[in-house]
Structures are given as structure tokens and as C-alpha cells.
């Protein structure tokens, strides 16, 4: 399976994604330059974390208009799998591939820590290798990760089983929807209506080996491997 990892100016997790795919998963990966109109016949596209275009205007707002994104949008519209992590999630929302937006963290602080997540559905091409309800430890590192959408959209996401990952944990007095960034209903990751685009703020590519502190993110990649026909 071939993963195409997009490199925007100021992407900084593209190499992490590459390492996860090539070293840990044992599959092929190529970098896709943001100025090119060439997805190099990739089976899966990764929109990696980082600070594309300096997060100018809004995180992801400028990257969505880069040449390669026009091809990624077409790819996604035809059912191609897109794994959008962190800044990738922000870009996917700005591009209209996913509903909602990622706003400034409630704390107004950049949060860089390992958080706990719960797998809310295993019925997606990104989560089928997890056990239902599994609790994961995966790092986050973002300043704009507060998932925001209108109530109707959020109800729809919940009703259609499109919330894939949710933050759990927090202090003892935390309420049901506690999250490290103030996300609506503690949403950490969602899929689009067709189920082929996953956006998540946590970094599964940084949690693929016990040496990194956790291997809980690896199953995202293994799920794709199991489900996507090459």
C-alpha cells in the first residue's frame, strides 16, 4: 500500500508519518509537494500536522487553496482515503471535506501532552483494528483544536456514528464532556459522511512504538491496511 504524505510549507509531522508508515507499518510512502498536481498514484493521502503557511489568517485557511489540495479534494470526492491529522484536520475542515472548524483552545494555550481517547466506533476504515470502546494514549500538540460545529451538525455526527475518537479523563471534577481544548462534546476525531476522510487532532503517527511512549496509534494505519483495497 502506498501512502502519499503532503508536505506544505511548515508541515512538521510529515516525517513522523513517513516513519510510521515505512519503518513501523512496513509499507511504502512518498512525499507529495504542495505545489504539484500529482498524487503519485497513492492509495491513501495523509495531511500531516504542522503549521502550514504559518497558520496565517486561520489554521489551514491558506493551505486548502494550494495546488495539491485541489487533487486531494477530487481524490476524496471519489472515495479515496484521507487521513487528516492535527493541522491536516484543520485543513480538511477549511476545505469542506469535513464539517465544522477547529478554534483556539479554550485555555488559549498551546497544549502538548499525552491524552486519553476512547474509540467510539470501530466501523470505519480508520478504526476497524481497535476493540470497541478501547482507551488509547496518544499525544496532542496544538493551539487550535477546539472542535466547533453547530448543534445540528454535531447531533448528526453523533447519530450517524461519525465521532470516531473522543477525549476522556481530565481532573476529578471534570464534567462528561471534558477535553484538553474545550471541544464540543469532547470530540477528538470524526469521519465525513462517506467515511473515507478522518480528521483527528491527536497524533497517531507519533504513537506507533512503545519506545515513543505508546503504540496506541498504530492501529489507525493497520486499519487502513486491512480495509483499503490496493
Amino acid at each position: 500500500m502506498k501512502f502519499g504524505i503532503v508536505t506544505f510549507p511548515a508541515s512538521n509531522c510529515d516525517y513522523d508519518a513517513y516513519q510510521a508508515v515505512v519503518e513501523t507499518l512496513g509499507e511504502e510512502a512518498v512525499f507529495l509537494w504542495h505545489k504539484d498536481h500529482d498524487l503519485q498514484n497513492s492509495d491513501v493521502i495523509v495531511l500531516p500536522g504542522g503549521f502550514s503557511y504559518g497558520d496565517y489568517l486561520r489554521a489551514g485557511a491558506i493551505a486548502r487553496f494550494s495546488p495539491v489540495m485541489q487533487d486531494v479534494i477530487e481524490f476524496a470526492k471519489h472515495g479515496g482515503p484521507v487521513l487528516a491529522i492535527c493541522n491536516g484536520f484543520q485543513i480538511a475542515c477549511e476545505a469542506g471535506l469535513l464539517p465544522g472548524a477547529l478554534m483556539r483552545n479554550m485555555s488559549l494555550k498551546f497544549v502538548c501532552e499525552v491524552v486519553r481517547l476512547r474509540v467510539e466506533t470501530t466501523d470505519t476504515m480508520f478504526s476497524n483494528r481497535y476493540a470497541a470502546g478501547a482507551e488509547l494514549r496518544i499525544p496532542i500538540a496544538h493551539g487550535e483544536g477546539r472542535y466547533t460545529a453547530d448543534a445540528e451538525t454535531v447531533d448528526r455526527l453523533e447519530g450517524e456514528g461519525r465521532v470516531v475518537f473522543r477525549y476522556i479523563g481530565g481532573p476529578a471534577d471534570a464534567d462528561e464532556w471534558w477535553s484538553p481544548n474545550g471541544s464540543t462534546r469532547a470530540i477528538a476525531g470524526i469521519v465525513n459522511e462517506a467515511g473515507n476522510v478522518l480528521g483527528m487532532m491527536p497524533h497517531p503517527e507519533r504513537a506507533v512504538d512503545p519506545l515513543l511512549g505508546s503504540a496506541d496509534g498504530l492501529a489507525v494505519f493497520e486499519s487502513l491496511l486491512a480495509r483499503v483495497a490496493v
Partner: protein, 85 residues
Amino acid sequence: MSRFRVAVHITPRRGILDPQGKTVAGALHTLGFAGVQDVHVGRYVVVELDANDKAAAEKSTREMCERLLANPVIEDFEIESGEAI
């Protein structure tokens, strides 16, 4: 064609939590501005562009807002009257 300057105010959409505005409001209370009820922090964008007339300059700027400058999911925008420069 003439050159125009059009300014745009972009603010968090009403009803959407604006922690930055809330924090600033708290600081203003601390300074003794007890009457402050709410604060919204947004962006101010100034576009200089060539257009046939003022109306065309404003129309073009509105389209820029809809497509890039503002995100309709979370932000409102307001275009100030354009001026020839």
C-alpha cells in the same frame, strides 16, 4: 479602473464561545471597567484593490470574505464602506 481601500471586520460568530474575548473582559473588569458586559476579539483586514467603482470593489471584497478571509462556520464579517485612494 481606480484604486480602492476596503476594510473588513471579522469577529467570532455570535453564540460561539470566544475565550479570548472573555479573558480580555476579565482583565478589563480587573482594571475597574465594571460596566464591561462582553468583549469580542476579531481581525481587521484592509484590502487595497483596483476596480471599476466603489460598488465593484466592495462586491469583490465580499467574495474574498466568503471564500477566504472569514470562515462562515465560526465567523461573521462586516465590510466597511470602501474609499478611493
